[in-house]
Structure formats: C-alpha cells, structure tokens
C-alpha cells in the first residue's frame, strides 16, 4: 500500500512542482510613488469567457472587446440615444459627399511614449481595408476606399460612393491601434498581438501586463489618460478574472473576491441581487433589439397574411413580463426603437396578440384548419442555445402559435450550428438579437437590402430598397428621419421583420465601489474605458 501511494504521490508532486515553478510569478519591481489623486487599489472584474484574441481588429467576443477597449481607443463613443460622442476624435463630418474627416486630440500618446497621431488612425483603417480581419471593424468599411493623415490631428477618408453614416460608424466601431507595433506583422488579420514581443502598448487607461489563461488578465494603470477628469485613472490595477459559470461569478461577487461582474445579469437575478446587501445594480439602456424574421424564400412565408398571422400569434407582453422580468421595452414592432428618440415613430404600433385574428389571416391566405384546429403548416424556428433569453421565449412563441393553430418546431442548436444555418438560410423562422443597432440607415442597409449581410428574411422590396438607398446618400438629418420612418412603416406592415423588444441591461458591482459611468449595451456597460478609469472606492 505504502509503495504505490508513495509512487503516485511522488509522481504527482514532481509533476505539479515542475508545473508550478513554471507558473509561479516573480515579484514586480517596486513602483515609484503614485499620484496624489490616484489610489493604489485594484479593481477586480469578473467575466465568463477568456480573451480569444488580443488583436482588437479580429476579436469578436465580449472579453476581447472589454479588455482591448481599455488599450486601443475608439474615435467616437455613444450616448444613451445612440448619438455619437467625442472620444479620440473631437470633430467629425464630411468635406464633400465622398470625403469624410476626423479631427483628433493632440494630447494622447501610447504607453511606450510614442504620440498617438492621425497617422495611426489612417494606418489602422487602411490596414483593415487591405487585410480584411474578421472583426466588426471590417464590416463597416464597405464604402470606404482609403484614409489619409492630412496633418498630425486630421484624418480624411475617401468613399467609393456617398454614405452619410460611415463616418460615425467607423468612428464608433473601429479602434485605433499603434502603427509602430502592428506594422511589424505581415497582416493585421493574423497578428495575435499576444504581447510576446515585449508586451502590450496602450493608449487607454490601462495596459495589459500579465495573462494567466483561464484565470486572470492583469492590467496596470497608464498614468496619463486625458479623457477623464484629473487625467489619471483611479485604480492602480484592473484585473479581469474568468468565471465560466455565472453562479460562481455571483458567489465571488458576494464574497468580495470580485468587485464587478462585466456581463449582463440574467433577468431573473436582477431583483435578487438588488436585494442582496453589499451589492449594487446599475442599469444600462439597451441599444439593440431581439427579433424574429420569416424566411420569405419559403412559399408559405412568402404570403404576407401568413407572416401577419405569425406576428399576431406572439404574446409579446408575456415574453417581456416573464422572460425579461419587465426589463425590456416594446419597439412597437418597428426597427426604429424608442431609444433612438430622433427616429422613433409612435404611430407604428406593436402587433396585437390575437390568435383569432391569426386564424382569420390564415384562412384568408387560403389555409383550412383540420378537426383539431391546426392548419396544415409547420415552421422550423432556429435559435442559439447559448442565448438563454431567446431560448426561453422560443417556447412561449411555440405555445402561443399553437393556440392560433400554427405548428412551430423549435430547433435550438449550439451557436456555430446556428450561425451556419443562418448563413445558409436553412430555417423558416429565425430568432436572434443584436447588441447595438445605433444607426437606422446602416442597419436597414444590412437587414433589408437584397444583398445585406443580415437580411435573414430575404426581403427584396423595390419601394423599401429605394427609400434605404436614398436615405444612405442623404446628409440632411430631418429628411433622413422621414425616409427611415417610411421604411419602418413598410417593414411593419409587411412583417419583413418582427422586432420584439429592446432589453435594458443590469450590471452588478460591490457597494464599496462607486463612480461607474454606465454606457448603452453589454459591450460598453459599466466596463467601458471611462467607467473603469473613474471607478473608485467609496
């Protein structure tokens, strides 16, 4: 007995000792005296996933976005109503129809001492256009031709055709990366930016210094960050810690091991945590929407009555009340959500939940119910199982449709299968959501024009196409709003899209901390650079 145990023990100990000594961190050199206003505190933030890629031009997951956001600033930020705010850029707009410009701050520099100039901005845009990295940034560059730094603080971009949204969209979605670091790579599309070549360089409030995959990402303060009051971030360190299970994450917040949970709380937990001593819950307005689209390439769904019947067979109130715990707002079944105050059109009303009306519409479309009251149709609704809110309301949609005599077959799949199905149009009904739909023209271009990347209803309506293309070239805001409202009315009437709600999001943090600045959507929430840099102990 002793022998085996001893052998096993020795083997295990030897292996672990070896492994551990490889992992053991060495103490950092003592830092010099801190700033008077800044603290020596560490802000610990919990997230559910690891960083997949440190290159902000590639990364697509939440953690990637949150962490790289603290190092690679955006030209523009966003307000609660979707309008853009100054960040690195102080002024932006159009020189003429096919030329846009950004004026940038002159007081920003990278953490290695290099100045952040218009050259960095222009180089980033051109590199993304050329190398086509897979992130969101490249998707915004459809009408972009090239960028040029006309001075140290001014960038001008050339467009292939008039596009009145692109300046703001690029400014909001695109990061600025340091040319002197990223240009060493052959292509920004496969540059890992994993710090293996002398560490990271940041122009944000913090710079990544240490990574333990699966466990933590440690970031140190960059002393000079002019975007906040005082010019110096408050906490000395920010540590992102990975908790794959949200239950463990909540326990860690309660025990004080983490100070903030970066991901939005599940709706049912908001009330519980609001009532938990030691925890405060902040609200972020949603700027996106959840929706269902009906695949119009299918003969049944090509009929407008069938789509209307389906739209009237959804108990929207129940979904918002039960699944979302009243944390969502109706969009009035229009792509122009109330949160986009300038665009919102009160006259467009939500589809009424009325199964009798649905039955009438089905009969009008030429279907006859059988003895058990069911129509001879069956639709396959796809959703991602990783999206827990959608997974929950999918069942409600199925049950209420059954009341209207329409069979819906649920097909929840793993995210990758779902994306593949979506891409291939392999569905009758698609359910999903978008985190930020800040600019109606851009969104409608993607969602309703025949070759749009997210045109999941495969709609091709000449009248709608005309309105969207005209709006896209229109710089006059009032005119643009009018066109968008007309387009939204068409989408609503024909059920080209069934937009159900905008979810407001809730984020929990320890009540020892204060000073968070909440921004819309889960991407920014209370872990946007300004908020993280301003948060401090009470």
């Amino acid at each position: 007995m002793k022998k085996t145990t001893r052998i096993a023990a020795v083997a295990a100990l030897a292996a672990s000792a070896l492994a551990l000594s490889a992992c053991a961190p060495s103490a950092p050199p003592e830092a010099g005296g801190g700033e008077a206003t800044a603290s020596s505190e560490t802000l610990t933030i919990a997230t559910t996933t690891d960083v997949v890629n440190y290159n902000p031009l590639i990364g697509n997951s939440r953690s990637d976005y949150w962490i790289t956001n603290l190092m690679y600033p955006h030209l523009l930020s966003i307000a609660d109503d979707g309008s853009k705010e100054a960040q690195v850029a102080t002024k932006w707009g159009y020189v003429d129809e096919t030329t846009g410009y950004y004026e940038i701050r002159d007081d920003l520099s990278w953490s290695d001492g290099e100045k952040l100039t218009a050259e960095d901005v222009a180089w980033t845009m051109n590199a993304v256009k050329q190398d086509q990295p897979s992130g969101t940034f490249y998707g915004q560059l459809a009408n972009f031709e090239s960028a040029e730094a006309v001075s140290d603080t001014r960038v001008e971009i050339q467009l292939t055709q008039p596009d009145s949204s692109i300046v703001e969209e690029i400014g909001f979605w695109g990061n600025v990366v340091p040319q002197h670091v990223f240009e060493k790579a052959d292509s920004v599309a496969n540059f890992p930016n994993d710090g293996s070549d002398g560490g990271w360089v940041s122009a944000g409030p913090y710079v990544l210094t240490d990574v333990q995959v699966g466990q933590s990402y440690s970031m140190d303060r960059v002393d000079d960050y002019p975007l906040i009051e005082g010019g110096t971030p408050s906490s000395a360190k920010v540590v992102y810690r990975v908790f794959p299970d949200i239950n463990t994450e909540i326990l860690a917040l309660q025990s004080g091991e983490v100070d903030v949970i970066a991901n939005a709380l599940p709706p049912a937990q908001v009330k519980t945590l609001q009532n938990t001593p030691g925890i405060e819950v902040e609200e972020s307005v949603g700027l996106g929407y959840a929706h269902m689209t009906y695949n119009m390439t299918k003969p049944d769904l090509a009929k407008v009555e069938v789509r209307q019947a389906l739209a009237h067979a959804v108990d929207y109130d129940a979904i918002r009340k039960v699944v979302l715990q009243d944390q969502a707002v109706s969009t009035g079944s229009s792509p122009l959500m109330p949160v986009l105050a300038d665009y919102y059109d009160k006259s467009i009303k939500e589809y009424k939940f009325d199964t009798d009306l649905s039955r009438e519409l089905m009969e009008k479309a030429g279907y006859t119910a059988d003895g058990s009251g069911m129509f001879p149709v069956s639709f396959r609704l796809i959703y991602s199982l990783q999206d827990s809110v959608t997974s929950q309301w999918a069942t409600l949609v199925k049950d209420s449709a059954a009341k209207a005599g329409i069979t819906i077959e649920l097909q929840g799949t793993e995210r990758n299968t779902y994306l593949a199905q979506t891409n291939a149009g392999d569905f009758d009904i698609y359910a999903g959501n978008f985190a930020i739909m800040d600019d109606p023209v851009t969104n409608m271009t993607l969602a309703y024009l025949p070759d749009g990347a997210i045109n999941y209803s495969y709609v091709d309506d000449p009248e709608l196409n005309e309105l969207i293309t005209t709006a896209s070239a229109t710089t006059d805001k009032d005119e643009k709003i009018k066109l968008m409202q007309e387009a939204a009315a068409i989408v609503n009437e024909n059920v080209y899209d069934n937009i159900m709600y905008t979810q407001n999001l809730y984020f929990a943090h320890s009540d020892k901390w204060t000073g968070f600045v909440s921004k819309p959507s889960e991407l920014l929430s209370i872990v946007n650079p300004i908020s993280v840099a301003s948060a401090h102990l009470k």
């Binding site: 085996t4 295990a12 466990q215 908790f243 990783q386 990758n416 997210i454």
Partner: protein, 320 residues
Amino acid sequence: MSLWSFVLRRFGRGILTIWFAVTVTFLLLRLLPGDPALAVASPNMTDEAREALLTQYGLNQPLIVQYGLYLWQLVQGNLGVSFTQSIPVLDVLMQRLPWTLLLTGTALVFTVLVGVPLGVLAAARRGTGWDRLVQIVGVTGQSLFVPSVGVLLLFTFGLTLGWFPIGGAYTNGTYGGEWYLSVIQHLVLPATSLVLIQLGSYVLTMRSTLIDALGEDYTTLAHANGMPPRRVLWKHALRNALLPTTTLIGLQLGFLVGGAVLTETVFAYPGIGRGIFEAVTQLDFPVLQGAFLMLALTVVVINMLTDLVYGLLDPRVKTS
C-alpha cells in the same frame, strides 16, 4: 519474451493508439457539420472574406491532402496555429496543462490515501455495518452531479464560512511563499469534489479484490504459518489487491486530464478540460486536434508507467 521486444511492442501499440486518436479527431472535425470561418468572424462578413479565411486555415483543400499535410506536420512536431488566437497550438495547451496536472494529481493522491484504507476496512469487516457504510459513502460519492456539489461547496465553504477562495487557481498579486499558499487554498474545494466522485472506484475495487485475495491459497497458508490475521491482511492480501488499483490509477489519471470539464467550469479552474470545451465552441480545429493528441499521449505514457509499476508490485514476479 525479452524486455526489448516487450518495450518495442508497447511502443508500437502506443504509436497506433496515438494515430487512432489523431485520425478520429481529424475526421470528426471535418466530416461533421460546422464552419470555423463563421465561428471566428462577425456575422456580417462577406463571402469573399469567408473564403479567404478558409484558405488561410487550409480547409479548402481536398480532405486527403489536408490529412497528409496534417500528419506530415505532426511528424515534424508542428501542431499548427490556433484559428482564433493566431498563436501556436502548443502554447495554447501549455498555458493550461500545468493546472490540470496539479488538480488531478492532487485529487488522485488524496483519493488513494483515503480510498484504499476504506476499501481494506470494508473487506476486513465485510457484511458488517462498517462494510455497508463504506460502500454507501463510496457509491454516493460517485453518483453525485459535479456542478451541484461544486456550487454547494462554494456556497458553504467559500461564501458562508469564508474558509476558501471562490474560483481561480491562485490569488493575483501574491508572490513567493504566499503565492504557493494561495495555490493550495484554491486547490482544496475542486480537489475535494474530484476526490468525492472518484473515491468509490477505489473503495469498491479494493474491497472486492481483497475479499478474493483473502480466500486465495497463499493467505490461507500464511494463516497456517501462524501469522497474526491483521498482518496477513495488510501485508500479503493488500499487496496483491493493489495491482488492480494501480491500473485504476493509470486509467483514471489519463482520463481525468481531459475529463474534468464540469469541475473546472464550476470552480473556474484554468484547466485543459475547459480549454477543450471552449475550443469546441470556437471550432478551433488545430487546438482541438492538439488537445486530443495530448490526451492520447497522456494515456499511452500512463499506461506504460502503470505496466512498469505493475511489474514491480506483482508478488508472483518476485518468487519466479
């Protein structure tokens, strides 16, 4: 059979095992549905961008060419580059492997330390209340659902009592001795839950092997020689009963390395099992291939070690 031919045969079998695991993984990834380009990119990617990604990943070539290239790279010791992280697969795996070894190794040592004596106790007093109690404890342990136990342990010892930290492998910002202490503190709860669920196998194996061994001739002989029963139990029978236990250790360690996904998820432990799960969700083919290769390698190496230990332990070998 000479020692060398034995070693060669074992080695050949090891290579075959690894080849099989590698090939199964390769084929599963490519023949089952799933498009890595979609998993990586944002939904509004153009078709050309998608094609470019597939070309970059080498997934546009015929299957047989991909397979040939893959094996050729493998022979040269090249595991490829991660699709999503753009860094070598070996680096991706080595970031997590040490923690997995630490966690499973620790759990294993404690399982054996607790399980073997319990098994002996049950066998020595078989049919009594002790026997039943030990069986029930062992069997209950292995019937538990890991995440439920995990949350219970975290809630009780992490939050309510505050004895142990919640999640992670160590405390950030600790160095030297303090760091090692924090590593141990973080290890306690996940290791406990692994010990709980593994314990049963050892207890029951030990118990039933001993029951048989106690009946075998040479123990009877020892009785006849006038050795005290307790010594017979511990010395002879136990030594014999350890053989299957050794095999059990070998097999379980091999599979624990990749199989502790649930434990690692709940306790937020940065191990390889969780890494594999994430690679699955990202359809990161090279990382998955590398991970499965590494698991196969672990199994082969541990099997060889087990054989070695087995030879050392078998009493019949010594007498012959």
